[in-house]
Symmetry: C2
């Protein structure tokens, strides 16, 4: 749909913010020109990345969750039931006050998250221990009146793609086990995207309003700042008390249920494109690439028809093997085609010219410019092996990126340097006062404790600020 | 999730309204107990019918449309740009006026439909004839402040599943051809659901606000009332003038574009379940049945383990053949299981008891109680043939239902009788005054002219009211 000149360069990826903004429209992911602040439009190409990504998430969840759909509109009295929850959201909630020309009797909130929409129904649905565990999820739009600087896919007023799961359990321990299951599921999900993650337990003041505790999934962006790309909350019995979610146990007694909830938004797409892109555009893992292979015929003079026919055959063979393929037959020079598909992150380009034809081969070029020759007779195997190789390379470079942006430090001075580059691993006593001190001196904050990462070893140590006994803690600058 | 007594009967289907309301919760489609009027919750089972149904719609659209996603919130000034459009919606639009504790500078409408969200972007996206035709669609929630009686899946304040397509073309004729393509697509879609349809052109006063003309897809519900389950609008250049959607033609001149839009909401699910259900519950075409085959082991005494093991093998074989299968191992009597799965519309039940084992067969019972024996050796073929038979039966009975509810009449008296039973085919001169007269005398209204249905032959005739020359016209009572 773009008629802009396509051959000007992207800003280099080192200028991450400029690169990110430019990439979004040049790779046709999101259009930021919609006339409401903080609200963006998905281009069809971007939306197909989203579809493929969320298909993975659905597949993982569908093993033991069921998908459902609850209303967007939450009546004020339900929304206001859980005190901490209100306090956490009151400045961010959009309110519908009028229907047509009529003022509504009851104001309606646009869900910022769906606890207060879902749990009144859970109170009706959960009756007996036989109904537990209950594990449902939905993928919906949610709304936050963000006053901070908004940014496509990262900080939005309409989050278009919030996957939120809500579970109910008989005991606190079972809910805690579900937290671990959810973290395992999210770990698998991000492995599919080749996005490296750090899991940690958020400090008390940064947990979800109304939770016993919050586990968070962060990644480290190219500029060293962290992006929270998933959260898992143990809700204890806070909401079940408020919304009266009880079940009859095997002895016929009414018991309060325990709950968890966990979510991932389109930030997963922000992480995906930021982690793997380069100065030429997107780089997509094959599993989520709308186009996995582009076939470019190299047409020279007389053998045009012959080359085109062979290119179509190759396209058909690859499609028959279940691959997402595009044959680029446009009447433009090959270089312009390369530029176009590199920008859109296509993992593999297959070129076919008269010489390839004569030699019974195709020329394959990965998105990272590794060139090889595949015999036409083993086209499918050759292409699949290269796509697997692209995937493995992205997983490796993702892991290296994270390792390079993690540093263990012991002093405030070293911390100040470390957080410029990425995430610092420190020891911290757990006191808010010491966390505040870190924030004042470094403009970074405590991400979390109880870190789950093979890159972070848990050691005993002294708090960076006060010198008392401290535990391994992640410090970073967050989006 | 339900612990209600499952063995009380549904109201008979002749009492359609009571039957429909009861079926929705007993078959676990929608829960109406959400505390906002006109807004309902999808049960997971209902949501999986929706997923399968919309997967068909996506597959049909994806052949030559692209999926995308536009914002829910439309700023007041954009919404107010097209005069007829505002007039059509001003009494039905929900307005967001506050973000957190702050009053918004610009009120935001919740989309009742997305023309005014999408077309400002189309004005940016469409530049040249090479960009045309542009065919995009989205599946979103939309909102109408309905003042009429609301009803799940039929008349909602939050329409959770609006598939809306929006196309742009170089000429009026190309847009008109797209209207026909869309009608063909919708016809195919409803063939998949075994839902019979009538297509007609809505009268001028009933067309979409801002359209040149509106084609509508109706079905006839069990009570003889019609349900509009799809519309296709030729928008002419109304919106392209308003939103400045122009393209450069091959001669380098700027031209106004022509547009269409067409939509289907979750009313398609209302039609699906209403058309095929019976006094025992849902009846689902296999293609959209979340469970296509339920395997019920008939366990008697000593051979329990043997029967269960064989039932599991059957489940595994059917699943390996790509079918959606449930093995019901619950410790309740078979009759209760039959009741449970009949309510949920499972097309085929496979029973397996000791005698079946001895005979090397399974007993298969379709949802409409046709019993047969399938040799274990040809299980898959036998099951697939029966599912195909169920599908064909539903298509046939759907067609018969429509034929039985269509009647050609020539006088007002006959019309009064006919519209009690269903849709009447009359001749009408096209004048509003005559249509008003029909409406006053019968409480039915003009559905449309230019009828496309093999059941309706177009003949010349005299207007039922005034006696002037009239064309074939459908009259019905509508939901």
């Amino acid at each position: 749909m773009q008629t802009e000149e396509e051959t000007t360069a992207l800003p280099p990826k080192e200028e991450f913010s400029a690169w990110y903004n430019d990439l979004l429209w040049r790779a046709e992911i999101m259009d930021v020109r919609y006339p409401v602040k903080g609200v963006y439009v998905w281009f069809p190409f971007g939306f197909s990345i989203r579809k493929l990504t969320y298909a993975i998430l659905r597949q993982l969840l569908d093993k033991d969750h069921q998908e459902t759909l609850f209303p967007l509109l939450i009546p004020e009295q339900e929304f206001m039931k859980e005190a901490e929850h209100i306090k956490g959201f009151e400045e961010e909630v959009y309110w519908v006050t009028h229907g047509g020309l009529t003022e509504l009797d009851v104001k309606l909130a646009l869900r910022p998250t769906s606890e207060t929409a879902i749990y009144p129904m859970y109170a009706l649905w959960v009756r007996s221990h036989a109904d537990l565990p209950l594990k449902l999820y939905q993928i919906v739009n949610t709304f936050r009146y963000e006053t901070k600087h908004t940014r496509p896919l990262i900080r939005l007023r309409e989050i278009t793609s919030f996957k939120e799961a809500h579970t109910v359990h008989a005991t606190w321990d079972e809910a805690a086990a579900q937290v671990e299951d959810a973290l395992a599921l999210y770990t698998t999900f991000y492995q599919h995207l080749c996005v490296p993650i750090l899991i940690s337990r958020r400090p008390e003041w940064d947990k979800f309003p109304g939770a016993d505790y919050t586990m968070a999934v962060d990644t480290v962006m190219p500029d060293g700042k962290t992006l929270q790309i998933g959260t898992v909350h143990h809700l204890g019995d806070h909401f079940s008390r408020t919304f009266d979610i009880t079940y009859e146990n095997q002895n016929g007694e009414q018991q309060l249920a325990y709950q968890t909830c966990y979510g991932i938004s389109e930030r997963c797409i922000a992480a995906l494109i930021s982690m793997h892109g380069d100065d030429k555009g997107l780089i997509l893992p094959p599993e989520v690439a709308p186009v996995q292979v582009v076939v470019v015929p190299i047409i020279v003079g007389k053998r045009r028809d012959e080359v085109l026919a062979a290119a179509r055959t190759i396209r058909d063979q690859l499609e028959a093997a279940g691959l997402r393929v595009k044959l680029d037959e446009r009447e433009i020079r090959p270089g312009a085609k390369y530029y176009h598909w590199e920008m859109r992150g296509v993992p593999l380009r297959v070129e076919l010219g008269p010489r390839d034809l004569d030699n019974g081969v195709v020329t394959a070029v990965t998105r990272s410019k590794e060139k090889s020759t595949i015999p036409a007779a083993s086209l499918i195997e050759g292409v699949q092996a290269l796509l697997e190789q692209v995937r493995n390379t992205l997983a490796t470079t993702g892991g290296q990126h994270l390792a390079a942006h993690l540093k263990q430090v012991e002093t405030m001075d070293d911390l100040k340097v470390a957080i410029e580059e990425g995430v610092a691993i420190v020891h911290w006593c757990g006191d808010k006062a010491c966390a505040d001190r870190i924030e004042e001196e470094t403009e970074a904050s405590v991400l979390g404790t109880e870190v789950r990462s093979s890159l972070v070893s848990k050691t005993e140590g002294r708090c960076l600020v006060c010198g008392r006994a401290g535990t391994t803690t992640l410090i970073g600058r967050s989006y």
